[in-house]
Amino acid sequence: MNDPATCFSLSTASASEAAGHSPSPQPGSKMFSALAPITDAVTLFLDGQPITASAGDTVAVCLLRAGVSYNRLMPVSGAPRLPYCMIGHCFECLVEIDGIGNRQACLTPVRDGMKVRRQAGAPPALEPSAP
């Protein structure tokens, strides 16, 4: 595997490409199943792909329901992370929401038209300069 520092600094556009995963969220989750179908559907965009959620869900719930394999890659090692505590303590659920980075997905309710991007390592300003 490539050195994570260089591997993940290549792309700011799509975290998923950098990590070598398919860019679209996988259908369904291997970790969670829904107790009930989506009600009061709203559509948001995850890395540009439309995805539905129930009004009142948090962004973190929406991501876990969709079965994404991570919401961010660590700025240090590039390791993938998913929400851990769901109550605002651990800050593992950070994503970019409507252009603002490092928002806590577990504290942010979904909104129709919301643009969510997963985070690919360090933000561009912190990238090591290319050799």
Binding site: K30, M31, L35, A36, G56, H89, C90, L94, N102
Partner: protein, 502 residues
Amino acid sequence: MTINAPLPDADVIIIGCGPAGMTAAVELAEAGRSVIVLDMQPTPGGQIFRNLEANLCDTSLAGQSLLAALGPAYRAGADLIQRFKACSSIDYRPQTTVWEVRPDGTVGWLQGMNAGYVRGRQVLLAHGAMERPVPFPGWTLPGVMTAGAVQTLLKAGHLKPRGNIVLAGTGPLLLLLANQLHQLGVKPALVGRTDRLSDNVRAARHLRPDGLIPLVKGLGWLGRLKLAGVKSVTGLENLAAHGAQSVESVSFTVGGKRRTLPCDLLIVHDGIVPAIDIPNAAGLRLQWDGPNASWRPATTPDGLGASTLPPEMSAEPCVLRITGDARKIGGADAAMAHGRVAAQAILAALDHGAGPSAEALRAVGKALSVRPFLDAAFPPGLAQALPDDDTIVCRCEELTAGDLRAKIRSGFRNMDALRGETRCGMGPCQGRSCMVTAARLLQDETRAADCPPTFRGRPPIRPIPLGAVAALSGLDPRATIRLTLEDKPENASEDTVDAPAE
């Protein structure tokens, strides 16, 4: 010209809208006091009654079976939430995070992109607990979650786990969750408890009559799991999660034998501890609670906190009180009982009234009387042994126990020096997940008798966008007076400067 201190925005500001915060708010509002309640969540209830109102209204079959699985202790919050919402005089501000609290009653808040300060003549911290952070190999992998997180997903996300599920750790919440999952048709592959029968037997001497109900409840959970054929072990040690991009298997030791199980979701829980982020940053005195391996704020029985500064150095008396699980872990009943006591103490401080009634204080004692038993029966397990050198301690900065030990040995022998040198505690969570382990490592390496103090907490303790800082409302007008810089020789030509005005 003298500029007066800003007028208070309310008699009381309450931070947190769980059982303790709601009880206190209702009590104070009914006594005619103005109350502002700030809470991170979108609806009242706290974590224990999370999303209760909406779930009660859900008449679908799925909704009803979720309510049945979550059980009567969850539904028990309905009455309090209703009373809270019926108090139209309470200024309730949901989805609001708190990024600063000062001992004089000033509170920094953020809601969406707006931020500011509000002031209370008295402030009540009712922000609750967090799950004890438990570093073990693989705890940062996707597919490792806390029991509280999975419960939140049930209550507020209507998601249930699937696949190979392993629950590991200790405490009532772990067993409760295992039961709730079973009721929803999810059969965990294993419930691995770190507590041992010997802990449970030894705990029996702490049993008080009031403790029998929780005991019977707990035995009922165990019995049902056994009937359902859920595998369970006790005395689990050395837990590890393995996998490349997410958890694929877990391993652990039981009775000296190493075992490995396939796993898609590892649910961990090692008991809950008071969340000390706000009291620590407010400069309140914390004490180390040995048996619970956690800090808790030092308070009087009615919840009054104490500043770490000596009295002659604090400009104004401390008006911060702490209640509920943020003060002492006791669960919802104890939180409601203490919320009442704290409210009565606040009324006394505002009006020079009589203070908490003997009956209200007794109710707290009664609700807490089961704790010694629970503490002895479920001692900290996963977090008991300090992590190996290769285990990540600081999740945010990906620092291992070995990294920290090496720095401590090379001379960084206090918490703030260690933080400055390693960045441990400087990640997005600001040490919420790593501080206690860093402190225990420091204690171990320096052979100190007591656990060292925390990292010094500084505002903002939660992120706040720069745009919101630029437009802060509620600034103290005294901060806008012209400051003289005469004592700075390089400013001799220029004798005054405008401090930032609101």
